[in-house]
Symmetry: C2
Subunit: 77 residues, 2 copies
């Protein structure tokens, strides 16, 4: 129904920046189109659960580190 807001926030761009890899590299590692990564980072839509699990796996972190129903805090505080 989308009561509060069915938006999923993500830190893909941050994790990617942190590790210095391009969208194309990430997309290739995940086996998806490089534009798909762009759509995800811009929040145009959120990934399937399957993709989300593999993204977290790729970055070697828990799903909640990459995705959240609520906005992530900024780096300071």
């Amino acid at each position: 129904m989308g009561e509060t807001s069915d938006v999923v926030h993500n830190r893909i761009a941050m994790l990617r920046a942190e590790r210095g890899i391009s969208r194309r590299e990430l997309a290739e590692a995940l086996g998806v189109h490089y534009q798909t990564v762009g759509y995800l980072e811009r929040g145009e839509y959120s990934p399937s659960l399957y993709l989300a699990l593999r993204i977290a796996e790729y970055f070697d972190v828990a799903v909640e580190v990459v995705f959240s129903t609520r906005p992530f805090k900024r780096l300071g505080e």
Copy 2:
């Protein structure tokens, strides 16, 4: 592309059994149709990331506790 198998396994039915709640109760708490929970439990399809995050939140566990790209181990072993 679905290289290996883009199937997502889940333990929704188990968690529900463990806590003694019905599909309808869970569905209501999540704000989804009660049939949707049935489809998920039977693996007819996997939830959106948004739903998956809220399911994990509802059961108060990490996403990886409920969902996995690989089959869960049985209780013994």
